[in-house]
Symmetry: C2
DNA sequence: GTCTATAACTTGATAGAC
DNA sequence: GTCTATCAAGTTATAGAC
């Protein structure tokens, strides 16, 4: 279980730096120095910095989205045409990424959260494509579980869910810093709290539109 | 209403580039070219790039947090010792930043959302300080409105609220792109939907801890 | 596959004339 | 206050020896 190959060492070092400092702020020199490999190895193994960035993100996104779809498949098979409980859907979506909140995988969490903020131009396009199927399948499943919501309301609330998830992936450790009271939040408490929060939010009655017309 | 001074033109150009491309990816040359001013003007008026970044962020954060505190003050005076409705508290927190979702101020929204993702080191420290009072006051008010939640649950759920807010500030325009159905989301529909979602999420019963022990 | 050396370029910052 | 010119240091990328 020791001595990973050069390609993996570069990916690990890049992930760590991208996650903590950001992609733009991480130079190939820092990455290769941290990985203990030669500067030229990046271009040999990946082609360019952009391709390294893409590979680093894809390494984490792929398994998470695959598990989301597997869980959704399993739920739909088990439901056998009947309705799926909202909490189950939400858990199928959230749990695969929330696993990264365990202390030894916080870097993966931060990287995953940064996907949506750091990517630009074609990188953005390529990464967005990785989420297409997940978005399509879960939007469909959620709209069946929440037939009272119109399409705009549903998408907006799904958006809130994603926002809560991403911010938790990137900033959960900071929560303990910012807290007025010293406090420890157990990693395995986060997912159930988040499922409860999001499911209740998704189910909330549609607000009266004339009420907030200011 | 024409010809702002050099300092303002730099801030406007910097805001636009920081919001769209990010801080690290925006060079002083791009900023000054876009502002139509000389490269050396940045160092003359702001001292350094870091100080420009700080000024650009502070210009948007200040008024938003001031309004949050004013609204909370007003609610507490009106309540006169009695309980404040949860929806009112949530609106006092969210409304000041959500105002930036109007079409002509999307850049301000994106910049505000980036505060929490781009800042590093001392910049991070300085900007975090800008939020201290808001966090302290709203945590107090929310815990009085939600006496059933323990401190860890409350902070975690407040964290989810902040995540939903930030992601909406930065990515609302992308929601319309990603939507499986073509769709238009009116900017003034977002705030009431978000208040309903967040208030319901905050009020959700605390989940049974043994249930999700996997 | 790994290394050194270097090319070609961009970056933030400043000295000094106007 | 605004400009030009320039510096020193950093960047990605690559050619070519081993």
């Amino acid at each position: 279980m020791e001595a990973p190959d050069t390609k993996t060492r570069i990916l690990d070092a890049a992930e760590s730096l991208f996650a903590t400092r950001g992609v733009e702020a991480s130079s190939l020199r820092e990455i290769t120095a941290s990985a203990g490999v030669n500067l030229a190895a990046v271009n040999y193994h990946f082609g360019s910095k952009d391709d390294l960035v893409l590979a680093a993100f894809r390494r984490r996104i792929g398994p998470v989205n695959r598990e989301r779809l597997e869980r959704l498949d399993a739920l739909e098979v088990a439901a056998n045409g009947r309705a799926i409980a909202l909490e189950e859907l939400v858990e199928a979506f959230l749990a695969p990424s929330m696993r990264f909140l365990s202390p030894d995988r916080r870097l993966h969490a931060r990287l995953l959260g940064r996907v949506h903020h750091e990517a630009q131009d074609e990188l953005q396009t390529k990464l967005t494509h990785e989420f297409e199927q997940v978005v399509h399948r879960f939007v469909g499943a959620l709209s069946r579980a929440l037939p009272r919501l119109g399409p705009a309301e549903l998408l907006l609330r799904g958006h809130f869910m994603v926002g809560a998830m991403i911010y938790t992936l990137t900033h959960l450790d900071k929560l303990e810093t910012v807290a007025p009271v010293p406090l420890h939040i157990a990693a395995d408490q986060v997912l159930p709290q988040m499922i409860a929060f999001v499911a209740a939010g998704l189910r909330a009655p549609v607000p009266d539109r004339t009420e907030v017309g200011r």
